[in-house]
């Protein structure tokens, strides 16, 4: 569905995407996980055939966006990071006019709009002005709009950023349904739980480069231990750091990461490690044992946390 080789994007002298290789197959859910400014949206806009490729090769549905932009855009759905809804029009009219942009007949669009309103559970808001919708409803409307042309490939740039947990789950559930219907999903996110929940395969992006690729499980297995023991110490005084704590626990874990307020001990058995920590007389303010996540993978690969 998507094939990128050495894909680059520059803005003036600044390189936002610095040569990435990506391949997305039909029917899969593929993710770009990365922090702010990683180049996720810049990549998505090239894939959406609206932003010209600076260098490298890009094929979407087998077509070259520089040549066949309109043909590509006719077959994909795009949910941009920033909502581009017409806030003065009603929910229904937003969908209707958008369907017309694809050259769909008036009757055909009207029927499709009804289905989509049902699908994103906005039927009772059909005649409300977009201005009056909540953030979660706007996002669902944008997703509905991206589906109006029954796309084979759906691009979602941070579909749930800014939504409360409940609204996020509603969106996830809808996206999951689409995936089951065979729609290829490509999404960007800086939430590792979103990436874990929704994607079959993902790339971790940082500073315009792909730093890792695989399924969520694979990535965790490759770049982290199974469990993590967290020791909270409160924010360390500048300079002093948690170094003295690190010295005392370093040999208990495969790896220790130091964050401003805590230590992360990467280990196969978190409880056991924690017990040993206590044996050594360390007294963290709080402790926690958890399964390793993509967040840990990211920390390992970049030395930074995803959401700061």
């Amino acid at each position: 569905m998507i094939e990128a080789r050495g894909l680059r994007k520059s803005f003036g002298g600044f390189e936002a995407v610095r040569g990435i290789d990506v391949e997305v197959r039909r029917g899969e859910a593929f993710g770009f996980l990365g922090p702010n400014g990683a180049g996720k949206s810049s990549t998505m806009r090239m894939v959406a055939a609206v932003s010209p490729v600076t260098d490298g090769r890009l094929r979407i549905l087998g077509l070259d966006p520089a040549v066949d932009g309109p043909a590509i855009r006719a077959r994909i759905g795009v949910c941009p990071q920033e909502d581009t809804l017409d806030t003065e029009l009603s929910v229904r009219d937003n969908l209707y006019v958008y369907g017309r942009y694809f050259g769909m007949g008036r009757r055909e669009v009207r029927e499709r709009v009804g289905e989509l309103l049902d699908f994103v559970q906005l039927t009772d808001k059909a005649d409300a002005r977009v201005d009056d919708l909540s953030g979660g409803m706007k996002r669902r409307l944008t997703i509905a709009r991206s589906l109006v042309n029954s796309p084979e490939l759906l691009l979602l740039d941070e579909p749930t950023t800014g939504l409360d947990p409940q609204a996020r789950h509603v969106v996830w559930e809808r996206l999951f349904r689409l995936k089951q219907q065979g729609v290829t999903l490509v999404l960007t996110t800086h939430y590792m739980d979103e990436a874990e929940q929704l994607t079959d395969r993902l790339v971790v992006m940082d500073k315009g480069l792909v730093v890792a690729e695989g399924s969520p499980l694979q990535l965790i297995r490759e770049h982290s231990t199974r469990e993590v023991a967290e020791l909270r110490f409160g924010v360390a005084e500048p300079g002093a750091g948690h170094d003295r704590h690190v010295e005392r626990v370093a040999d208990l874990a495969e790896r220790v990461e130091v964050l401003p307020d805590r230590l992360l001990l990467y280990t196969a058995d978190g409880e056991e490690t924690l017990a040993k920590v206590h044996e050594r007389g360390l007294e963290p303010v709080a402790t926690l044992v958890r399964r390793a996540t993509l967040e840990d993978v990211f920390l390992r690969l970049t030395g930074r946390t995803l959401v700061d």
């Binding site: 609206v50 966006p65 932009g69």
Partner: protein
Amino acid sequence: MSSPSTSTSTSSAPTSTLRGALRLVDYWATVYRRTWRGSIVSSFITPLLYVLAMGVLLGGFVEADPATLEGATSYLAFVVPGLVAATSMTTVVGEVTYPVMAMVKWNKTYFSMTATPLGVREIALAHLGFVAFRVAVTAAVFLAVTAPFGVYESAPGVLGAFAVQVLLGMAFAVPLYAFAAGLRDETAFSLVFRLGMIPMFLFSGAFFPVANLDAPLEALARATPLWHGVDLTRMLVLGVPDWSMVAVHVAYLLVLVVLGWWWAVRRLTRRMQQ
């Protein structure tokens, strides 16, 4: 700089651009359905107020020698066509400044359009088509409302003047649309109003013959698109067309439309690729 591959533009073939633009008709119709009441009311009231104040009341004090009135027999007959043309200008200027910035920057509605098979040509053509429709309605209402004042000498001339309003409107709208489409910040609009529109409104022959100005200022006034539009409108409605001047005016206004279109496609393409 070599132009980047413009994936947001589509084929430049005029027929396919037009076909694409037609897909946007329902969008603009929806927008118009929401706003037409207000715009129609002001289309009716504005000409009445202007013609009463400037033509009838102010005109009552003006004792001008008809020989200096460019073919008009009274100040009222002189000023009405001027007001028609000036209103066409102000109508389109309102349509292609803040509303365009809203589409590009505030609401990003254009970005929703370029995500579809449509490209910047179709989007610009449809928007400008809507502006042409707006100026056509405003001009038709203006001409109809002012007909009872008895200053129109020639029915075909009035029809011609109606067409001229659309041309004049587009001669302003297209270049200014291009300007607005690439603009980062709206403060420049107040310069357009203060240094462009208002001086033209006042000094381009709508209210007094430009021959009254000093020679350099007169030359400047005759260089403005509004003067060309005013002179054209006046000749036609008063039934005294000088056909060679008609040709000059039409050509001048058409050139603005064509250059404006080229500039608009260029600037909007750049902007939408960001």
